[in-house]
C-alpha cells in the first residue's frame, strides 16, 4: 500500500528531507520503521532501534503496534519539546 511519511526536527535534518511517499509491505508502524532502517545510511542512523523516536498515524500520536492503512500519513519525530 501507499503511505506518505513526514519527518520533523533532528530526524528531518539527518535525512535532509521533510517527507516522502512510499510503497510499503509493512502492516504496522514498527514494520514501516524497519523498512526505512533497512535502507541504511542516514535512515539506519536516525531511526535506529534504541533511539527515542515518536510516531504519529494520521496526525495522532501512535505506538509502533498501530496498523497502517492505505493512504495513511505517518510522522516520525524525536520526543517533543514545546511549551
Amino acid at each position: 500500500m501507499k503511505v506518505s511519511i513526514r519527518y520533523f526536527a533532528s530526524i528531518r535534518e539527518t535525512l535532509d528531507r521533510a517527507g516522502e511517499t512510499v510503497e510499503t509491505g509493512a502492516v504496522t508502524l514498527a514494520g514501516l520503521r524497519d523498512e526505512l532502517i533497512d535502507r541504511g545510511g542516514a535512515y539506519a542512523e536516525s531511526l535506529a532501534r534504541g533511539r527515542a523516536v515518536r510516531l504519529a498515524l494520521n496526525q495522532v500520536m501512535a505506538d509502533e503496534s498501530a496498523l497502517l492503512v492505505e493512504g495513511a500519513e505517518v510522522g516520525f519525530f524525536p520526543p517533543v519539546t514545546g511549551g
Binding site: 526536527a9 533532528s10 510522522g75 517533543v80
Partner: protein
C-alpha cells in the same frame, strides 16, 4: 467566537486574550493564565536564539483534543491556547494558556493540566543557538512526571 487554539509567529497580548475569553460572560468568576517565555540560559549554556518547529495540522488537532480532555475532567467555561513558532529570542513569549471558570479551583487545575499535557504531547521541537553551535533541546523526564500526576502515562522523554 475566538478560536480556541492558535499557532502563530506573531507575539500575543495576555490582557487582550483574557478580555476576549471573559467578554460578556457573567458566569465567569475566575481566570487563570500561564505564559511561557524564552530563557537566556539552558543546561548551563547561554542561548542567543530559539527556533520552534511544529507539525502543522497535528499540532492544532492535538491541542484541541487536550482542551476536550480538560473539559471532561474540570468544570471550566472557556480555554484559549496560543503557541508561537519560528525564530524567538530570550525574553520573548512562547506559549499562552488561559482558562476561565466560575470558581478559582477549576481554572488553576485546568490551566496546569493543559500545560502539562502540551509539554509532552503536542508536536513542537525547540532548537537553541548557543556559543558552541545549534542544538535540539532534549525532552525532560520531569515533564513526563508532571503529566503522570494527572493519571496519564507519558513516554515522551
Amino acid at each position: 467566537m475566538t478560536a480556541r487554539v492558535s499557532i502563530q509567529t506573531e507575539d500575543f497580548d495576555l490582557a487582550a486574550e483574557v478580555a476576549a475569553l471573559r467578554q460578556g460572560d457573567g458566569r465567569v468568576g475566575a481566570v487563570c493564565s500561564f505564559v511561557g517565555t524564552v530563557r537566556d540560559r539552558n543546561d548551563g549554556q547561554s542561548v542567543s536564539t530559539m527556533e520552534l518547529e511544529h507539525y502543522p495540522g497535528m499540532t492544532e488537532k492535538s491541542i484541541e483534543a487536550m482542551i476536550d480532555a480538560a473539559h471532561r475532567r474540570f468544570d471550566f467555561l472557556g480555554a484559549r491556547v496560543i503557541h508561537r513558532v519560528g525564530l524567538l529570542h530570550p525574553l520573548d513569549q512562547i506559549v499562552l494558556v488561559v482558562v476561565s471558570s466560575a470558581h478559582r479551583g477549576e481554572s488553576f487545575q485546568a490551566c496546569e493540566f493543559l500545560m502539562d499535557y502540551l509539554k509532552t504531547q503536542a508536536p513542537f521541537w525547540k532548537k537553541e543557538q548557543t556559543p558552541e553551535g545549534a542544538r535540539w533541546v532534549d525532552a525532560r523526564v520531569s515533564d513526563d512526571a508532571a503529566l503522570a500526576k494527572w493519571g496519564i502515562q507519558a513516554t515522551n522523554s
